[in-house]
């Protein structure tokens, strides 16, 4: 696990030429595991984890790297899901890739609108405004005819990718979803480690100071918000393809809460945290749903969450990083 810390050091060393770092090795191992996984575990379950990991990573980009707590990210997930679902269901033969692109763009447009309204407020007010806007979208999705209200969109065809790959095959679809996830993860990683990401960090650490350095911080926050919304939309669009379903559950505030839980559990402000958090939550839901516990699942998840937050506040990955940092300090001495 020492590799996680090395990420920071590699980033800090800056001018050092590119070489193989332990973190690079970890990413490679994870990548290979991702390639092999569908032959060991059920692909749909894995795809569910990947979709939620992407959703949580998008959310974490905003909370972890700008310090903005959005309580309405379900709106972007659902917008991506519904647009993609509607297009693929209404226009059979449409490329699934185009459907996903359209869903993502829809979330980007909505994110620009919501962001412009919400970004001027901070802290709890920002959270409340995003929640209110997301609730508005929820009721819009109930009323709008194209979503089929309470029923949702069922049986969305997965179609053929580039007219070659039949996505009805779970394994084929898995690799498509995996490619989307890897690309999105790489994008988030780049955003965090970019000139733009540096300004975001500065805003997170001390916004008045960033302003006094001449940065128009609202503009930076808006760009980050739109990126986050777009990636959340991408997660929703992909999810529609996996489950062939877009429903109101995607738009409800439970979904906005769940993504917060996943991110905090895994480690807010860490790149791998959301991946670990969503894997854990989805895995637990899956395991507990199969047991005889029934509706107690939510209670148990809640209890686990409380214990985690009380005992390790910075999340699983965050705690690992701190542990490594402490150990390295001792070694330095």
């Amino acid at each position: 696990m020492a590799v996680l810390q090395q990420d920071h050091q590699a980033a800090r060393a800056g001018s050092a030429p590119r070489r193989i770092t332990p973190l690079g090795v970890l990413y490679l191992v994870l990548f290979l595991l991702g390639l092999l996984a569908p032959w060991v575990a059920y692909p749909v379950f894995l795809m569910k984890i990947l979709c939620f990991a992407l959703f949580a990573s998008a959310f974490n980009l905003l909370l972890g790297f700008v310090g903005l707590l959005s309580f309405g990210h379900a709106a972007f997930l659902a917008t991506g899901a519904y647009i993609t679902g509607f297009l693929l269901a209404e226009y059979p033969g449409l490329s699934p890739a185009l459907g996903i692109v359209a869903g993502t763009l829809g979330a980007v447009v909505l994110g620009t609108l919501f962001g412009a309204l919400a970004i001027r407020r901070q802290g709890i007010y920002f959270a409340m405004i995003t929640l209110a806007l997301a609730q508005m979208m929820f009721f819009f999705f109930i009323q709008a005819p194209f979503t089929h209200g309470e029923d949702g969109l069922h049986g969305v065809p997965r179609g053929e990718l580039f007219g070659v790959f039949d996505l009805a095959n779970n394994h084929t679809l898995y690799y498509f979803v995996f490619a989307i996830f890897v690309a999105a993860f790489a994008l988030i990683r780049r955003v965090v480690h970019s000139p733009f990401g540096q300004v975001l960090k500065a805003i997170r650490e001390n916004e008045p100071r960033a302003i006094s350095l001449g940065y128009h911080t609202d503009a930076y926050k808006l760009v980050a918000f739109v990126l986050s919304a777009g990636l959340a939309g991408l997660a929703g669009a992909t999810k529609t393809l996996v489950f062939q379903l877009a429903s109101l559950g995607d738009a409800s505030w439970h979904m906005s809460g769940e993504v917060i839980l996943m991110t905090l559990l895994g480690g807010v402000g860490t790149l791998l945290g959301p991946l670990v958090g969503s894997g854990l939550v989805i895995g637990l839901q899956h395991q507990l749903a199969q047991s005889a516990l029934g509706d107690w699942v939510s209670v148990i998840l809640g209890a686990i969450f409380v214990v985690c937050v009380l005992s390790f506040r910075s999340g699983i990955i965050g705690e690992c990083q701190r542990w490594i940092a402490r150990r390295q300090q001792r070694e330095d001495k």
Binding site: S194, Q198, Y215, H216
Partner: protein
């Protein structure tokens, strides 16, 4: 890569006959009926180190917030080089070269010391919105950043996480970050607040060096710092300018002494107290 000179061209003579670089006319701020700043007319001459002193609650920090548009003024005008900046936005004022610091040390604590300075240097590069570029694209600024850090004695700490620095060094870092912008006017809000005697001396020296060729307006409680550094002093009490002049004339002013003694004694130590009385 040329490093920005910490010591710019000397301001021409500092003659008081020239137009002030920063001026307020009738500047006022009301908070729901309470007037925190009341008809303040300040004139800061180019090249001066100008102090704003006064008892707690006199409105010094509010004046700073008005000057940098962190708060909008209720009435009055703010002029920079004769042009009104009253309605400009905070970040625009910063880009003009009026850069402020804060009462509580304003550093980016989870970033490294080097990154703190670099984030101030990177904006003129015009890539600050480029989320697709690698962080390595900023490495060309490292040399310049290290040079600035060297001037405040932080070069060896460049790769430390800022949170791990002692308080006095954080303030030095803040100064290096401010200098990275090559400001024409530095607005320092209590630069020595909360510091031990040794750190105070260091910071006084840093400000003295950094102020060469620049204009400084500072809020300061520590009167020995003010007497050592400042060319001109404005005393604020209850939102109004009570007196203005050099240290000798201001400290001899009976109204100033009353304002200080009538409220809390000057916040600093007993021997500084003696200096006023």
């Amino acid at each position: 890569m040329p490093s920005p000179p910490i010591q710019g061209p000397r301001a021409s003579g500092g003659a008081s006959a020239t137009a002030p670089i920063l001026e307020t006319r009738g500047l006022s701020k009301d908070f729901r009926g309470f007037t925190a700043v009341d008809d303040v007319n300040l004139q800061v001459q180019e090249g001066h180190i100008h102090a704003l002193i006064g008892p707690n609650g006199a409105g010094k920090t509010t004046v700073f917030n008005l000057l940098t548009r962190f708060l909008p003024a209720t009435r009055g005008e703010i002029l920079y080089r004769g042009k009104s900046i009253t309605r400009m936005k905070s970040h625009e004022i910063a880009r003009l070269g009026l850069v402020r610091s804060f009462q509580i040390s304003a550093v980016f604590s989870q970033m490294t010391v080097l990154e703190n300075v670099r984030v101030a240097l990177q904006r003129p590069q015009g890539t600050s919105f480029h989320f697709w570029k690698p962080e390595r694209s900023l490495d060309s600024l490292n040399e310049q950043a290290l040079h600035l850090l060297e001037q405040v004695g932080l070069r060896d700490d460049a790769h430390r996480v800022t949170a791990s620095l002692p308080y006095g060094r954080k303030r030095a870092l803040e100064l290096a970050t401010t200098l990275a912008l090559e400001p024409t006017v530095m607005l320092l809000d209590e630069p020595t607040q909360g510091m031990g005697a040794e750190d105070v001396d260091r910071v006084v020296e840093l400000i003295r060096v950094a102020a060469r060729g620049r204009t400084v307006l500072m809020v300061e409680h520590n009167l020995s710092v003010v007497s050592r550094l400042c060319d001109r002093i404005s005393v604020l009490a209850r939102g109004r300018v009570l007196a203005e002049g050099d240290y000798a004339s201001v400290s001899a002013n009976p109204e100033v002494r009353e304002a200080y003694l009538g409220s809390e004694a000057p916040e600093s130590t007993a021997d500084e107290h003696k200096e006023v009385s």
